[in-house]
Symmetry: D2
Subunit: 346 residues, 4 copies
């Protein structure tokens, strides 16, 4: 039984970790960390766990936790995990960081986009980017996993096979993404109040969103060259879900079936990526509450472009689900353990 | 492995049955029945099942199905199941009817409230009302279970312990209920279009809703006398959930703690009824996607009334979840099998 | 041209006052008061006013404002207005208070339910309860109007004609109300975040909601005796709207048509109360953005009860709309000025 | 007083026409046309009009109506209007067609994208494309106005000034649009049921949406050459609103301020286009219920692209509001008459 500690268990991604791990046969939560709710019953904050979790929240204390746990999930603001990781900590416990601290390879680039100092860049090289579809083997032997961002997860899964195909202009990728409101976190801000978000849609972080360099890093890796990506997220009035609609210019007079083969090959053995049949569009409802990513493409010969589409649950495959998937890989378990519940479509 | 057939598998309750049974270790679906989608891939209708269900819809043919299945769920309009049940059928297969056909003991009363003829009243006496908290033993040996309505399930669980306590005026019960829109079904009607339901709330079926006699029958059973109940449902813009707020006059100068003891006793060993701590109100989000019923009471000495509150997922404990619970009981399984997933609160 | 100052113009009721007064031919806003946004452009907070309002927010300073305005609306938390009203102020300017400070006749009762000290009870007798359908003449000559609460407005309009009819048991009234989320205000609280409110419904303030004594005061006035009322509000995932479903026991073997006559008489000349045809239920969407209150009744001879229903826009007739209606009456204008826009149903 | 007939008054755009015209000082509705609700009270279908409209629905009979009206709005399915227009009709009455029948200049292109025969292509040359910001003078003297589609309206207003600037690659325009559900109409279809649309987002009509040629026609007109546009609409769970996020490659090392001047010039005198300050993003809530189009741009020197954004109410400026604006122009009225209500942001 893997002993798990969760730092930041009272945010939305933290609560999803708890929900998923409750259904996991080989894991046991030993620490419900929280900054704001220490000493309160966890089930008083999330009533769905009433009679299911009878634990109180503990402080976000990684050192104490390292003595008790086999793995720590940090579902905390940017900068927190990076300020705590030491060789001593990693000697005792594996760390899966749901923040951005170790996702971007270049500390200077991290500091530029996030506007904060990186205190422990010496671990950047060791940290493994936890997108199993890209880095499964490296994850298996990692001590420190940088769990990908929600937008990058959906974007990379939708675009990488096309990027690797050599059939699109590598510098032409535009990603227009739509996110549910859990992505904005559980902080008490006026802009996230029900009446400020309901019945409206807007773009945000236009040209400056911090997931951009992360997407560029790993699309670039697939491209074999540095790429520049246009990324624009939007906020949609729903709790969960990310939808990505990405555009790229075709470089040859190719057709959809040819490109589709690269997707089929990439995802044939992937348990959580579902390549939809031709003509079907991904919808976020079909993956809600699950670890699935639904992907499809449409070639438009009229315009000479390829449209790449993906849908995930932003706190599932986009955060907690993927983190559990990484844990399974790191501990040699069946990758699907605890993650095979059917999406709750309605 | 129990072989299960679902008649009406493409409605919302039917799809929830499929979702729940996919997570059930001892059941296997052998028939996806449908009236409207025969020969279509089930996963084309509900995309969440893509790559999980690779079956086509079959006709709603109970006789053919009786040869293949151990149990049939009928998630069909009123009158359908009653028109199909025969001694021959029940000799071959168990039936769990999610419609109202066998819920009301008196065929005349059924016909009056539902406005349709009851073709097989001879099975009314045999049929067991499948509210396990009331009828567990009878369910265990039943061939034909009348799965309760969503509003009755929530209302009965919220009110019955008080009714049995003798501390409320038995004729004073008023039930004001609020339902999500899945309760209206998946039929193509203008009144259930997104823009007709979103951003508004209304009562419906005022004084005439067909769940009234069902509530009265079983509240009356608890009361030891016939009772008349005022029942008013409302439509709320959300997918899932029923909230019941019920009112009754206290008959004595009692207090909340005294009445609470009756609830504690009634639900101490119930796996799916959660009596909340004093002062906490049920919310539908805390039970979403689950088979739980959250219940609480508040006594108001100022007004001399008791307020009884309950929350369920209308297609969970209010339909498909309860149906699976009944199946588990009928087949001697752990009652909780397939139903222990944590509610999806966000 | 009436010069208007709004204290608390950046809350939801304040913003609705601005919206309505922009369409008012005889009023001009001279002061956009705010506690949190002083010196910021009003249209930066509410983008709908971009290019329509080119003013900055000013402090919530009543004394300064009294020199410039003919009437002040206070859309502020409980206790604020009562701490500012003086004989000197009322000598200079009319005050329409949208808070509860002067709604309850008895200061001790106010202090008990609201839990705060009333600093100026000496104005309670002078203050007029601004429900025009009850107090039109008194409003016309008032210096200080206590604008009714949203729940009381809807409840009183739905119940009073029945109460006056003598055909219901005066002590039997139960009011089950459902409110949109603007009613919770624009404060940055976790409980009002989108993901905490969306896709769920709950009761709140059960037996203790502060609108209870206000409802009792004016239902009691109609009854000719003190009445005790059971009042339970619920939070519904929508921006605007209040729906009231009220229950009372019939005292005689009467019928709906008889009681309906009392409603017809009460509302025959009321410009903003619409008595619906028999059998039609009020819905909040039909009054959204307007000052209308839709009302209807249904008698249930089977149970011996009367069901009284009402729908308003909680920040329209339940707050800002009614405040403008009161202003119109106080200044001798057509009561409907600025309020005759058609409800925005979709 | 202009006498107005509305064909298709019971759809969402039709009902918005009724709402707007009720607030119009110089117009009077003489015909509430409907296909499905003939002889029913209009206010029985749209309860917001209760006590405001006391008319019954009449048949969609243009010939009869032409005798009574000065102008006819056709808010009907594609092909209907084109099948009715004759020289005789246009000799008696002006026609503002809210369908696509006369929007696309080339009948063959219309037939290709819409898949239906165009019965009266002889009126295509006379018909004026009713986007006042482009065609105000032609609208003023038109007998037949083709009211623009919702997506084209928002797209053209967001992109045309950039296209005219010569600073973007004319063939590089990608338009990613998001629409509320009223855009799907009021037909009883399963796919538009509340539970099918709520809590999800999807693309639709990918590469094939019928508004594409309309956008291309008028962007091409602005470009001075034929252009090919990538257009992808998405369905968002909200009633009203369209948001456009459009992308184009910059052709020179220019900056945002330079391009902004073209927008400032284009919209300086436009009553309904609001160019937002630098850095502010359009949101659909700020234009809800109004005829405004909010527009902004952001240049991204890092990627060498321009992002153009627009927000409208799809049944306001995207349909009924624009139709009324066109009527005002055609009849020599103040273009803003009936359209100056403040957006209902919450």
């Amino acid at each position: 039984m893997i002993k798990v500690g969760i730092i930041g268990s009272t945010g939305y991604a933290g609560a999803e970790l708890v929900r998923l791990l409750m259904n996991h046969r080989d894991a046991e939560i030993v620490w419900y960390g929280s900054r704001s709710y220490v000493d309160q019953q966890y089930a008083d904050i999330y009533g769905n766990f009433f009679e299911l979790v009878d634990e109180k929240c503990l402080a976000d204390d990684l050192d104490a936790l390292a003595e008790k746990a086999d793995v720590i999930f940090t579902a905390t603001p940017q900068g927190f995990c990076a300020s705590k990781v030491t060789e001593g900590l990693l000697g005792k416990v594996k760390v899966i960081d749901l923040s951005a601290d170790y996702r971007i390879r270049d500390a200077a680039r991290y500091e530029e986009w996030y506007g904060i100092h990186h205190p422990t860049p010496e671990f950047l090289e060791e940290a493994v980017y936890g997108l199993p579809e890209l880095k499964r083997d490296a994850v298996a032997s990692a001590r420190l996993v940088a769990n990908p961002g929600c937008f990058p997860t959906c974007s990379l899964l939708a675009v990488i096979p096309a990027m690797k195909s050599g059939l699109i202009d590598k510098q032409s990728v535009i990603i227009d993404a739509k996110s549910g409101v859990t992505g904005a976190g559980r902080g008490a801000k006026v802009q996230n109040l029900y009446c400020e978000v309901n019945e409206t849609v807007k773009a945000y972080g236009v040209t400056t969103h911090r997931h951009t360099p992360e997407i560029e890093d790993y699309l670039g890796e697939a491209a074999g060259e540095a790429v520049t990506v246009q990324f624009t997220p939007h906020l949609v009035p729903m709790n969960r879900g990310i939808l990505v609609t990405a555009y790229a210019s075709l470089t040859a007079d190719t057709d959809e079936e040819t490109i589709r083969k690269f997707y089929e090959e990439a995802y044939a053995d992937e348990p959580f990526v579902r390549l939809l049949p031709p003509g079907r569009v991904p919808e976020t409802r079909w993956v809600r509450g699950s670890n699935y990513a639904d992907v499809n493409i449409k070639a438009d010969r009229r315009t000479g472009r390829l449209i790449m589409m993906g849908a995930i649950d932003n706190i599932g495959k986009g955060a907690a689900g993927q983190a559990v998937q990484n844990m399974n890989i790191m501990f040699g378990l069946d990758e699907r353990e605890g993650l095979m519940t059917v999406p709750l479509s309605v």
